[in-house]
Assembly symmetry: C2
Homo-oligomer: 344 residues x 2
């Protein structure tokens, strides 16, 4: 097992190289669907967990080992990056996260602080600890994409329709551009700090980008995602994941990610054809299938693998985060099924 | 103004015939963004409003007149059709609707009552009254599509991710099929009753269909939408509207609607090209634009019209329901702008 890290099947697939099995990991693979995680969270808050390198690493490592996946993703919250900018975040149990001083105008922008990545050193430390524990299994770093972060900053929390975000985009494109530029630089620096700490790949999450029209994505969002991705140093594979991207997949690809993360709303083969043969893709089982029992899991996982047709450059994953109601054993079963069905 | 109803620009566009201006109406054009509506609702509940043919017609007529749109849509709630099947619905103020006895198994299905369209005669009566008041302006009838209705019936209310719905679909496809078949027949009968009462077009709303993978749509949903549409008698134009349909627009078209309603997540011209030149389309301005002021409204409405390039068979609309925060005057302004910019 003393292979060099770059021989990990997950990283080979990210580079488009053939692998003996299709690598797999699961979006939100450490989280509330796990008994061990729920027990820990009954003792510490989400912020306490995120800010403790030991606990964040422990949760990361434990989930990867239990599942038998081919990569771990560092446990952190997408909103951590907003705090060093001066946004006050409240994570009340039972509610979603809330931003107490949302950004809704040029005046709000003016009071943002200069981003200091040092404030997030605990995330790098967690990456370092998780990598040491799991090697040669790769650890993935991650950050929210500028648009998704902006949507939280503007709405003041989660939102069903992102009405305020899009209203600002259309009413004051200059202020919107400035906010996204700030977030793109912060994201680039944050991802780089995780790579420096040992992350062998990073993922940029654009969870809410599907609330945009293709025109708005291209004009107001794409340039900033591109900036964030281009700032990742040293260079490791960048996974660019978004949901609701079906209508502008080609533009999404053009942001520059090495691997395009597909949600479950597209057919993997048709999406891959649109992206081009040199592309690498991640996805895209509907996480709801994990609530439907082993027969359905095997049947639907096989459909995804059949669409991939064994092409090099496929990382198996869910097309969205795992549901809290998922039986832990069935998540593990999916990993085994994908390894079994894809063995070449 | 004594033109025959079939000369209405909205109906001509639905038939793919050239029109002197692009017709427009707005999804949820009667609703909470209007002062008059809010005043009425401070006195009567949503169910009281829906069950009173006089009040439902009044709200329908008033919105259409105030906006200057080219069609009215009957005011009703998408869930009304579930009650005659034996589902108990609660509309508490401030929460979304709730189904008190959700359908989650074959056993739950067995206790559904035979659908009697007579229980919804008040909707037909409202259509009759609104049509009489507005003639020759056409009144559109509507119903939820089988999948969207099933998602409420299964989840017991609104849902962010439709996890239970999709779990049932994958775990027990037979029970899911039976539920959708029941809903398809009910929907067909309900839409027909509205046509008989004077609706000159009907719309089938599949609001949540974007939570499905293309495979799941094709296999488990499309056949039932097709059945519902095929049952509409006498035959009038059927608008088939869905959101999140970008990845399976061709399948969505194959359900048989005369006009395909596009959400704002697709580019109107690219979508139209995929649907084919004989298709008619409705859409697709992002309703968030109505929160961004007149300059943005004019600029973004022009983009949609530019993509339509004056082709016959375009009904202008929002790509999703109007937001509660929309200034009434700006909704009216959009209607005027579309008429002005599209005059041929």
């Amino acid at each position: 097992m003393n292979r060099a890290p770059s021989e990990a099947v997950f990283l080979k697939a990210c580079r488009g190289e053939p692998t003996p099995v299709t690598p797999i990991w699961l979006l939100r693979q450490a989280g509330r669907y796990q008994k061990e995680y729920r027990e820990l969270r009954s003792k510490v808050s989400l912020l306490e967990l995120c800010r403790s390198p030991d606990l964040a690493a422990q949760v990361t490592v434990s989930a990867a080992r239990k599942l038998g996946v081919d990569a771990a993703i560092i446990f952190a919250d997408i909103l951590l990056v907003l705090e060093p900018l001066g946004l006050e975040i409240s994570f009340e149990e039972g509610e979603g996260p809330r931003i107490l001083n949302p950004v809704r105008s040029a005046a709000d922008l003016a009071r943002l602080r200069t981003f200091d990545v040092g404030a997030l050193a605990h995330v790098g430390e967690a990456v370092r600890k998780a990598s040491a524990a799991l090697a040669p299994l790769p650890v993935i770093g991650f950050a929210g994409a500028p648009f998704t972060l902006a949507s939280y900053a503007i709405e003041g929390g989660s939102s069903k329709d992102h009405a305020l975000t899009k209203a600002l985009l259309h009413r004051d494109p200059g202020a919107f551009r400035e906010l996204l530029a700030i977030l793109a630089r912060a994201t680039g620096a944050y991802l780089s700090s995780q790579v420096e700490a040992g992350a062998e790949a990073v993922q940029l999450f654009d969870s809410w980008v599907g609330s945009l029209s293709p025109d708005a994505y291209r004009e107001h969002v794409l340039p900033h995602s591109k900036t964030a991705i281009s700032l990742v140093r040293p260079r490791v594979p960048v996974i660019h994941f978004g949901t609701g991207t079906a209508a502008f997949l080609e533009d999404f690809r053009d942001a520059g990610g090495d691997v395009v993360g597909l949600d479950f709303r597209v057919e993997l083969d048709r999406a891959w054809d649109r992206l081009g043969p040199a592309s690498r893709v991640m996805g895209n089982l509907d996480p709801a299938v994990l609530l439907a029992g082993r027969d359905a899991i095997r049947r639907e996982a096989k459909k995804v693998l059949d669409r991939a047709r064994g092409r090099a450059g496929h990382v198996f994953n869910l097309g969205h985060g795992i549901f809290h109601e998922t039986p832990e054993d069935d998540a593990r079963a999916l990993v085994d099924i994908v390894h079994e069905l894809s063995r070449r």
